[in-house]
């Protein structure tokens, strides 16, 4: 009796054996979509709006209405771009991990995030019985609001900035610190020890890394002599800071990047929400729309930090041929991609390592960089 010969099954294309080039193409396509969207948006001011609707001009010139319109615009942008960023992140993660990522909803899963958002909106709004209801409810907003505020001063171009604040950098520093209030409120409000630990960790982490980050940003301020973000970009028209002043700006950028990662609670500094230790940290008990807010804030901060890095070090909206906002978008997405690359590559630090790294290395290093910048200014630009 002879048994039929063993046959290997025919290879099938599964999600786990996808083509890397294919995924990269999808990623590129996503970037192209975003760029196109921004291009369209950048064309909008060139359209003859004034001819279309004089009433709109009237409304836009009134300070209060002007402010409201700007606020609304910023809010909408923050909300919308996060949808794209989340999709991008998932695709990127898929690419890094040699899989496809979301594929089914919309073209290449482009609408997956919207579906998820709808799902979150539909979910039951759970508030734990023993929770501190007020703080539990307020916390997501406290986390999201500062991030939203930072976008006010982020210059997409010379004119595309909601509030060209002369003390922009200081404003950014002041506002971003307040995120820790939200994490504290969330950690406390849930009445859960993991949440509390996560909240405390997040607070300590943000406060600690704020210092080298601020000093690194002050180095840029020293170099430029202004705190206005638009002014800083304009001063870079003869060369990006990181190239023109490479000896001091490259270290400053590195410090800024590390601190930015920590401020964003991203790997390798994602201790406050370390899933394996703290079961997602301060938003363990959150679900539904409240959880969405945390997520929203996190991704918006991601984009903002990248945009700030671009503004400070990579010439902001400056660039040839293309409109200014498109350049800004390209550069920012590149930095965001850098963040994602790090996130999906590096393992998490231990909590004592993280604090020690900040206080023992980053703070002194940032001070050294700051002093070096002052010397550089004195020597190179008398």
């Amino acid at each position: 009796m002879s048994l039929p010969p063993l046959r290997r099954p025919a290879p099938t294309r599964t999600g786990f054996e996808c083509d890397r080039a294919f995924v990269a193409g999808q990623f590129a396509a996503g970037v192209a979509v975003l760029v196109a969207a921004i291009a369209v948006a950048s064309a909008l001011p060139r359209l003859p709006w004034r001819l279309v609707d004089p009433a709109l001009i009237l409304i836009g010139s009134h300070p209060v209405i002007n402010a409201l319109v700007k606020a609304l615009t910023v809010t909408v942008f923050v909300t919308i771009h996060v949808i794209f960023l989340i999709w991008l992140e998932r695709k990127f993660a898929g690419w890094m991990q040699a899989r496809l990522g979301p594929m089914h909803v919309g073209w290449k899963g482009a609408l997956q995030t919207i579906a998820d958002a709808v799902k979150l909106l539909m979910k039951e709004d759970i508030i734990p019985t023993r929770a501190d209801r007020v703080l539990f409810v307020v916390a997501p907003f406290l986390t999201f609001m500062p991030t939203l505020l930072t976008f006010m001063v982020l210059p997409f171009s010379e004119t595309w900035v909601a509030y060209d604040f002369p003390l922009g950098i200081l404003f950014v520093l002041a506002v971003t610190t307040n995120i820790s209030l939200g994490t504290l409120a969330a950690g406390w409000g849930a009445n859960n020890k993991y949440s509390l630990l996560g909240g405390a960790r997040a607070c300590a982490q943000v406060l600690s890394y704020e210092i080298p980050m601020a000093v690194a940003m002050l180095a840029v301020v020293t170099l430029e002599g202004t705190m206005s973000l638009t002014e800083i970009v304009k001063n870079q028209q003869h060369g990006w800071n990181i190239i023109a002043h490479a000896p001091v700006m490259i270290p400053a950028f590195l410090i800024f990047m590390v601190c930015g990662l920590a401020e964003l609670n991203r790997t390798p500094f994602d201790l406050p929400e370390a899933e394996s230790e703290l079961v997602s940290g301060f938003h363990t008990e959150y679900s539904g729309m409240r959880f969405a807010f945390f997520y929203l804030g996190e991704f918006a901060a991601n984009f903002f930090t990248a945009g700030l890095a671009v503004t400070l070090f990579f010439g902001g909206w400056m660039g040839p041929w293309l409109p200014a906002p498109i350049w800004f978008g390209i550069k920012t997405i590149a930095v965001v991609a850098l963040f994602m690359w790090i996130k999906w590559t590096v393992p998490r630090l231990r909590v004592d390592q993280m604090m020690g790294f900040c206080w023992k290395l980053l703070v002194p290093a940032s001070v050294v960089v700051f002093c070096a910048t002052a010397l550089w200014v004195m020597v190179a630009q008398p």
């Binding site: 002369p166 003390l167 200081l170 610190t177 705190m227």
Partner: protein, 185 residues
């Protein structure tokens, strides 16, 4: 803006400042009292903005909210096991202190309001950038000494805080541990 709008802004900021301050005093939950401090501080920042003190608006947010308030809340969380919202939150001075503090505020308010201050508001303060530049020059120029004194104060506070907060190296035996609160509880 019209003067009415300014008055409206002022009044709403005053409410934003004072009502949470009342809540800071009266709330039983000490952590909530800490969070009530947030609108008060924001209100004060808004008043700074009305006074054209642009730098201090941001500094208020950065230092008072970003640093001090967070520090306070942090301390409250570290000591949460002694927090009991059901225990009385005010000492026996409450009945005496309310009229005292009310008369303090009322007396100062009356005296300050009656004083013949120069009427009107000087036309324009310098812009945010110029103001900050002037402040920076003042701090490293005319007022370098106060500035250095403040930095020394901060350093001393830093060292003092470390010394105070550092746990004792060797715990004395619990039997011999002195009870500083005295035997007259």
């Amino acid at each position: 803006m019209s003067s009415l709008a300014i008055l409206g802004a002022f009044l709403s900021l005053a409410v934003l400042t004072l009502f949470p301050a009342v809540m800071v005093i009266s709330t039983r939950n000490i952590l909530h009292a800490g969070f009530w401090l947030l609108p008060t501080l924001i209100g004060v920042a808004g008043l700074y903005a009305m006074l054209d003190a642009h730098f201090f608006v941001v500094a208020q947010v950065l230092i008072y909210i970003g640093a001090i308030l967070v520090l306070i809340l942090f301390a409250l969380m570290l000591t949460r096991d002694v927090m009991n919202p059901r225990a009385p939150q005010h000492n026996g001075l409450l009945t005496a202190a309310v009229p005292i503090c009310a008369s303090l505020a009322a007396l100062s308010a009356v005296l300050l309001a009656r004083h013949p201050w120069p009427a009107g508001r000087p036309p324009e303060a310098a812009g945010a950038h110029d103001q900050t530049v002037a402040l920076g020059r003042a701090l490293i120029g005319t007022y370098a000494l106060p500035f250095e004194a403040a930095s020394v104060l901060l350093l001393a506070a830093l060292v003092g805080a470390i010394v105070l907060a550092k746990a004792p190296q060797t715990e004395p035996p619990s039997a011999e541990r002195t009870d500083c609160s005295g035997g007259e509880k």
